[in-house]
């Protein structure tokens, strides 16, 4: 994944998503290893995209893009609050800042499971979103997300239950960039893979809502 030019970067994105999507049906013994591989691949994939972006700055007019970090609050319809961190990157070099790449982690450990019996579950996500009206403050967007889900049932008697899954979801919403370096976004999404009784973790629900508040950490345009 040593890509340097824009076209090759797109190849990397497609290849990264492909690597995450293959072998979703594995036997239970291998599932844990496969999921860990997917996490590592996710991190490598995002790192690659960001690093290549940074490296390319040496040959142009310096670092070019906008990197934001912040908090995300997520609510699954009829289930838990899952909160955590989210990072967002966009650049004029990537579809004129219309494409936003993101990494996020949300968990019930920072939400419903605090001081309660809610199941502790984690969502590791990478995402690629398309922003309309990208030069305006008010930007509608659509986004594809993929990643890894894990639920911790804590007791050995539940070892036979599915507790991890490959995540693949789509969401759409609105983003608002304040004149100060803050961005607020709201979206509603749908998990294309969710628990259905015979496969998938039971607390992976299809419909979710998200609210994110980002602070611009790095910017150079």
């Amino acid at each position: 994944m040593d890509c340097e030019r824009g076209e090759i970067r797109w190849f990397c994105i497609i290849k990264g998503i492909h690597l995450l999507s293959v072998n979703t049906q594995v036997n239970p013994v291998q599932t844990n290893i496969e999921m860990k591989k997917k996490i590592v691949l996710s991190i490598l994939f995002i790192s690659c995209v960001l690093c290549v972006q940074a490296q390319s700055s040496g040959t142009n007019d310096g670092w070019l893009g906008e990197f934001k970090g912040g908090i995300r609050i997520q609510k699954a319809q009829k289930l838990y609050w899952e909160n955590g961190l989210s990072f967002d990157f966009s650049s004029p070099k990537i579809a004129d800042s219309r494409i936003h790449l993101g990494v996020s982690y949300v968990t019930t450990r920072l939400g419903s499971a605090i001081g309660s019996n809610a199941i502790k579950q984690d969502n590791f996500l990478i995402s690629a979103g398309y922003h309309f009206r990208h030069q305006k403050q008010f930007q509608p967007f659509i986004r594809l997300n993929t990643g890894y889900f894990h639920a911790d049932y804590e007791e050995d008697i539940f070892d036979g239950l599915p507790d991890q899954a490959f995540l693949f979801s789509i969401d759409a919403g609105l983003s608002y960039e304040f004149r100060i370096p803050l961005t607020f976004s709201l979206s509603a999404g749908y998990n294309l893979i969710s628990g259905n009784g015979s496969s998938g973790p039971g607390t992976l629900f299809p419909v979710f809502y998200q609210m994110s508040l980002f602070h611009t950490l790095l910017t150079k345009k």
């Binding site: 239950l161 629900f205 299809p206």
Partner: protein, 314 residues
């Protein structure tokens, strides 16, 4: 003004679409429980199903005999515990009271109008009747939706200390497997009802059509119980619980057992007893009326009945 007219036009079209989608199902009165000809037999002969009605004046021995209130799940009927009653009849030292949930066993319209509180009411009616008659060894066996109904009674303190000796939950539903139920409030009015794939033998004992209003009631009930379990509560003292949960249940997620295990403790704070069962059936104790039953399914049913019996005899 133009925008208002456009909004009104869209609203009228939306309402027309919604009303068109919400039409009543085509019910075969001769074969379906949903119709106005087949009713649950406990409505005609309560004395054959309810211990409180069957035994006018229980003897001292009968008062100390274990009585088990057996309650079926949503859209089912007393039929769901017929096999357990037959098992207990062979044992002769257990009394079984098969309770029909409120709104069930009657017409589709009755089912549609009922709330989860209506479903719950006959459980308390039979429980109170047994208490009034002096029974001292009252137990409960619930399948699927009967489980959140009895957990709600415990949470509200309506079953107090030493009120029940043992509670058996078979495939309790706290989280549904069919996840589209989570948006039934939005999709329900457009669908009107859900349709089940009953076998011909099940048609007279299980509703074929499940009104969206009823499915919404189910979601309301499971949400209440899920939140109660999230906060945590205890069984009354003198009451034990055992949960039997099918792992690949197409109706009630197996993770429902995790939520019950984490959220509901014995009166002394210890864990309740849970057994995860390698099955893809919902309500593993009912095999009658199903197609393609295997020896593995029969073994599970026998194992659960034997286990319940042994616990009752302790």
């Amino acid at each position: 003004m133009a925008a208002t007219n456009r909004f009104l036009r869209v609203s009228v079209i939306f309402l027309l679409v919604m009303s068109a989608c919400s039409k009543s199902p085509e019910i075969n009165n001769a074969t379906m429980l949903d119709g106005d000809q087949l009713f649950d037999p406990s409505l005609y002969h309560p004395e054959k199903y309810l211990v409180s009605v069957a035994i006018e004046n229980p003897s001292a021995v009968q008062k100390n005999t274990p009585v088990i209130i057996a309650v079926h799940g949503l859209s089912a009927s007393t039929f769901e515990w017929d096999e357990f009653r037959a098992y207990c009849n062979a044992k002769t030292n257990i009394l079984v009271s098969q309770v029909l949930l409120g709104g069930h066993g009657r017409t589709y319209e009755d089912f549609k109008k009922s709330t989860w509180e209506d479903w719950q009411e006959p459980i308390m009616t039979e429980y109170n009747a047994l208490c009034d008659k002096g029974y001292t060894n009252i137990n409960f066996a619930g399948a699927s939706t009967a489980c959140p109904l009895v957990m709600d009674l415990i949470k509200k303190g309506k079953i107090g200390e030493n009120g029940m000796k043992h509670i058996f939950l078979v495939d309790p539903i706290v989280v549904p497997s069919y996840k589209m139920l989570t948006i039934i409030g939005v999709t329900g009015p457009m669908m009107g009802y859900l349709e089940a794939t009953n076998t011909p033998a099940e048609e007279g004992h299980y509703y074929h059509f499940r009104p969206q209003e009823t499915m919404k009631q189910l979601m309301d009930l499971t949400q209440i119980i899920r939140k109660d379990l999230q906060k945590g509560f205890n069984l009354p003292s003198g009451t034990g619980m055992k949960v039997y949960k099918s792992i690949h249940d197409p109706v009630a997620e197996a993770v429902s057992a995790v939520l019950i295990y984490k959220g509901l403790k014995n009166s002394d704070g210890s864990n309740i007893d849970i057994e995860m069962i390698d099955s893809d059936l919902h309500v593993v104790t009912r095999l009658a009326g199903r197609d393609d039953i295997t020896q593995h399914d029969r073994d599970i049913q026998t194992h659960v009945f034997d286990d319940m019996y042994q616990i009752l005899m302790q």
